[in-house]
């Protein structure tokens, strides 16, 4: 099966890539959107004072 990779996806906020799988006829058989990024705010914001959250979670997305 032929594979077309779009890596990275551009002109958007964040990281991503797309893998498109083509069948024998060259038609799209399947496609996968992959997000190759995690920073872990869910974990590392834990235990921090609530008043500090506005200045931590704003760094989830600065766009």
């Amino acid at each position: 099966m032929k594979k077309i990779s779009i890596d990275p996806i551009t002109r958007l906020e964040g990281h991503g890539k797309i893998e498109i799988l083509l069948d024998e006829e060259g038609d799209v058989a399947n496609a996968y959107l992959q997000i190759p990024e995690l920073r872990g705010f869910e974990r590392f914001a834990e235990g921090r004072p609530v008043e500090e959250m506005p200045r931590i979670v704003t760094r989830i997305c600065g766009v």
Binding site: P8, T10, R11, E42, R43, I56, C61, V63
Partner: protein, 359 residues
């Protein structure tokens, strides 16, 4: 055709920075050469990349507003995922050292970011760690208090929005329909850019302020490149540029925001509000302080300071005006989150770098 040569000083990084960043031997860099054609300077080739970051650094580049035209006058952008449609294979196809300057923002959290850092290093004459994440680890480096297993557990199992009874986690390799799909490997530890590849310059800030970005652009445009290893900011601490009234630094209580209305003219630390000014490099124009917010240290340690958190601990301890042991213990307890406060932006570049792995 004439060539203007811009010698890049070979002066080394300070010892502490080499030790902390486990700086690899700096390769012998060619001087940045810009060709002049008919008196007109040929354009620089500029690349921008984001690793473990929020995109705020990329937006900060746009915050120069109309000055972006000046940047466009001196530079052609050859790679910038947020704004232009170049792919990794376009960069791979470039000749080594064909990019003049790479502004790299974001920390190194996974194997893809490490791979692209190495790729861009190979293709770039000058590598700039742009922003606090690339310089010190930044906010993502708070993840160094945990590791891959505990972060995955929270993000993919425990988080309330999940329904993941099969306990599915991201796989670095998986075969679907006979085709291999890959995801980067998520590391236990977040690294700074300089811990991964040699870096020429450091532009701190979360994000770097416009005037410093323009200073970088000016340096490139006029060929006034500072010595290798330079941090493009002030050499002094933030307190030096903070115009609040500083009188007597003696405190008997640490206040949280809901416990005090701060005097907007007086030093925040003197009022018992933790402000990282004494342990932070200046150059930001005290932008947080000016809106009555204490500094959290995004510019990293001042020149000559090894460990920002340790410096802040030392600064804070020296102004505790209590003698009784129980009173001291109380004031220590009043600092709610010492590690996350003193190492808010600098965990990766700190002496400790991370919490000890629980293995």
């Amino acid at each position: 055709m004439t060539k203007a040569r811009f010698p890049v000083s070979k002066s080394n990084l300070p010892v502490w920075k080499r030790i902390l960043s486990r700086q690899r031997t700096h390769r012998d860099l060619p001087s940045l050469e810009i060709e002049h054609e008919g008196g007109k300077m040929a354009k620089l080739k500029l690349a921008l990349y984001w690793a473990a970051s929020c995109g705020g650094c990329d937006v900060a580049v746009l915050d120069v507003n109309e000055k972006i035209l000046d940047i466009a006058n001196i530079a052609d952008i050859v790679f910038w995922p947020i704004a232009m449609d170049f792919k990794y294979h376009d960069v791979e196809a470039m000749k080594d050292d064909s990019i003049d300057v790479c502004l790299f923002n974001g920390a190194v959290r996974n194997s893809e970011q490490e791979k692209i850092a190495n790729l861009l290093r190979k293709k770039s004459k000058v590598m700039v760690a742009f922003g606090s994440c690339a310089c010190f680890g930044g906010i993502p480096a708070l993840g160094n208090f945990w590791d891959r297993t505990t972060i995955f557990e929270r993000a993919y199992i425990e988080a309330p929005s999940n329904d993941n009874q099969a306990r599915t986690f991201p796989q670095t390799e998986i075969k679907l329909d006979g085709v291999e799909l890959e995801l980067p490997q998520f590391y236990d530890t977040v690294s700074t850019l300089a811990q991964v590849v040699p870096v020429e310059y450091f532009v701190p800030g979360c994000p770097p302020p416009v005037d410093l970005i323009l200073k970088v652009v000016d340096a490139l445009a006029t060929s006034q490149l500072p010595p290798i290893g330079s941090v493009i900011a002030s050499e002094k601490s933030l307190c030096d540029e903070c115009d609040r009234v500083k009188e007597d630094k003696k405190i008997t209580k640490i206040y949280r925001p809901h416990e005090i209305i701060p005097d907007p003219k007086r030093c925040l630390l003197e009022q018992g509000i933790i402000c990282l000014g004494p342990a932070t490099r200046g150059g930001c124009g005290a932008r947080c302080i000016k809106v009555n917010m204490p500094c959290r240290g995004c510019f990293g340690p001042p020149a000559g300071v090894v460990d920002q958190g340790a410096k802040m601990l030392s600064a804070l301890a020296s102004i505790y005006d209590v003698d009784d042991e129980r009173e001291i213990a109380r004031m220590v307890e009043e600092v709610v989150d010492p590690a996350g406060t003193f190492y808010r932006f600098g965990m990766s570049s700190s002496l400790l770098k991370r919490r000890r792995m629980q293995t």
